[in-house]
Symmetry: D2
Subunit: 247 residues, 4 copies
């Protein structure tokens, strides 16, 4: 079992501005997520935040990252375009990416999806129930038919994303909405997992089922092949004939 | 039968620079394509070129465009980012987009795919045979099991695109390669069709089967629904509860 | 506009056995559905029932059917296997098929899906809200973000189907479940649409939105191409070399 | 690393009838495949043949099978329907299935696909080149851009299958055809991989790249989750309300 090198990006703005957020995540959402990932024997974690040089996502860091987790909300626009391009290229090269909750509006997610990733939403601390729609998927491992989040922000359809390669969870919300809450896509050689739960004022990342899915997601997104394939960079790629051309 | 308003963008650079291209497409590739589209009773065509103000793709033009066809090759980088954003938004709103041949590397296609759209290629005037992989698709209407292009530039796998929603044609090349030559995707409310054939020095757009597929593609991409759905712009979209929330 | 020839199969057993069903559908569910389809200028309708010779689905009838709609519930097992095979072959040849509600357990649907098509269910006359997950799809034409059914039987995930080619509606249920209520697949040259709503004791097929979706579905499933492709029957298909083989 | 229990079914008819086949596979194709699988430390192999009681696929055998490999050609019709049903149910429950070459016409593959799985074919001992169309897939692990089979039977499009969940290999044939040669689907909780290469009179299963892909496929298809999901049997599944129903 080789070790998975996870890097956790959190914009880390809410936690500094709002006591209500600090009360739930005193060291930042990234530390709460890093804590349960670090308990896994096969996962190493480092963190990165917006205020660090290059947002903590230097070439060196990304070169040693198997899976990047992304949490952002109010400071999406403050992420530098050059860093987004760098992360984008690394995903195409094979780095896994897990986008959490409000990361649906991050530059990197929109860049990879090609859509604007809009949705409808509501803050009413309502109940959510996530149903498994793909029971043999490794990301749903350990989850029964469904699990519940007692109080959550609602995200609802229409969710403006490309058709997912795999749809793993569909959420039911007390207030009458539904949402494709767990979706995967392949882009280049990289695996992408979007997972909806998580809100800065609610203790959702302390919930065992949510932690289990994120851990599963890290393992799934890290699954690398050793194939040698070019043609995934921007350099055109001329190839000589493999068979005689008779004209 | 309502009329489909097609707009045909051609960068129109090759034709002015190279006599070899002018010999094949004396008025530009756009005029060759426009000519056969105009013979269809249900299709109106206007053209746009790189050198026009706003590349001919003004808000007014796009607002009256049901399907945009895109041909570009050597001047992809000269297309202004603001125009790309404008076209992108119109696709998400429901405008169809047909990307031809070397348009795989256009800014708008890469923007919509989220990948770099690389491939391998070769100019050897070899034979291509396009096999139908989805025989009931409207875009393959009128095409038998396959059709051939006597001399073509080769594009080969790996083609770095998201998994197509529909795979319609797979090409065989004399020199030993294969390619997913006809692919569709949905992005937002827009339909996208990538069609490989076409090269500036070869009379491919005069071939009846190629014309038939492009005409089919225009009709397919123009299929609009009248649904009223918000959430495809960048404005978040708050929704009131539809059911009582008891907590 | 050519006319679409729809055939509506109803097992027509409930209506004869139970007054509660007769009260809602006095002439049978098939007559209620046929009535609104017949109001469309482009749709012709004939009906077929289990008790007819060959269940009303003779070779002659199927040869003149562009789209078959299927309603069955308690008598799935009474449908003869030979008729199922006949319908199956016609779907592969290009006939559209719309499977309604409890038809998820019909022999023909399970035959086409390759899974057992199980689900969870509950009869509690609860509210259902169908959200549009694919707003530009012709089957969602005329439907806003969602529509509601005031009282319905519940069908819930996990729904044991192959990943749909297109997911059009996701249902929210008052009792806490979700369901992929509008799904499409292609099999051979045929288009298949599964649509969940409908129950024998509730007036769901009189609801305008439900009728609209079924009408849309008939038009979508009837969309034929004229391509000539063999290889979709059980006869193996030898092909001569198209290129010289040098060994 | 837990051990994967593979069972290899071979109809084992060709080898007994034709010396030309015996010359290539003296102990049967199943023994050639079993031999290289057995060299893997994580794979255990048992074999099953048509002439055994219950074709060697008893309930006991299947209960202890993580992945079933299927080779058949001339005796598809001799496989008992009851055994096909048994295998089908096990796939829906989570057993992996790898269908090789002419197994495309086996009862079990057609049962799972819902189509007739037709194709065009030719025996001319021509060259095949399999291109990787999904470079990060575990099944393509260790394969470069492509690999070649010097002499092969040709299978060509149109291949009448449902759209694969994943398309991994596309074949180029010397004689002018193409084929989707490596495809995956999920059915119920089971993973299915179809892999085209292999012919009874050619030493294809001795080729390292072919062996590598089959080994990769066994590992991929064996990936089980521990989720507890019902609803994949034919028993309907009533569920109590999870939320209050107010009507």
């Amino acid at each position: 079992m080789s070790t998975i090198r996870a890097t956790l990006y959190n914009e880390f703005v809410h936690e500094r501005k709002h006591e209500s957020v600090r009360n739930v995540y005193p060291d930042g959402i990234h530390q709460a997520i890093a804590a349960f990932l670090r308990q896994q024997p096969d996962i190493e974690v480092q963190t990165a935040t917006l205020d660090q040089p290059e947002h903590g996502l230097t070439d060196e860091v990304l070169a040693k990252t198997d899976v990047l987790l992304w949490w952002g909300h109010m400071a999406h626009d403050d992420v530098q375009d050059a860093i987004v391009e760098r992360v984008h290229l690394r995903v195409l090269e094979g780095m896994g990416l897990i986008v959490l909750h409000s990361g649906h509006y991050s530059k990197i997610f929109k860049r990879l999806m090609g859509t604007n990733c809009g949705l409808v939403w509501r803050e009413a601390n309502e109940k959510e129930r996530l149903w498994v729609a793909n029971p043999n998927h490794p990301i749903a491992d350990g989850i029964d038919r469904f699990f519940e989040i007692p109080q959550t922000e609602m995200y609802g359809e229409y969710f403006d994303i490309p058709t997912p390669d795999e749809l793993i969870f569909i959420s039911w919300f007390e207030g009458g909405n539904v949402f494709r809450s767990g979706c995967t896509w392949r882009r280049g050689r990289g695996r992408i997992f979007y997972f909806r739960p998580g809100h800065e004022t609610l203790p959702i990342y302390y919930q065992p089922e949510v932690q289990r899915v994120i851990i599963n997601g890290v393992r799934w997104a890290a699954q690398l092949s050793n194939t040698t394939v070019t043609g995934i960079t921007n350099t055109p790629n001329v190839i000589e004939p493999l068979e005689p051309i008779t004209r």
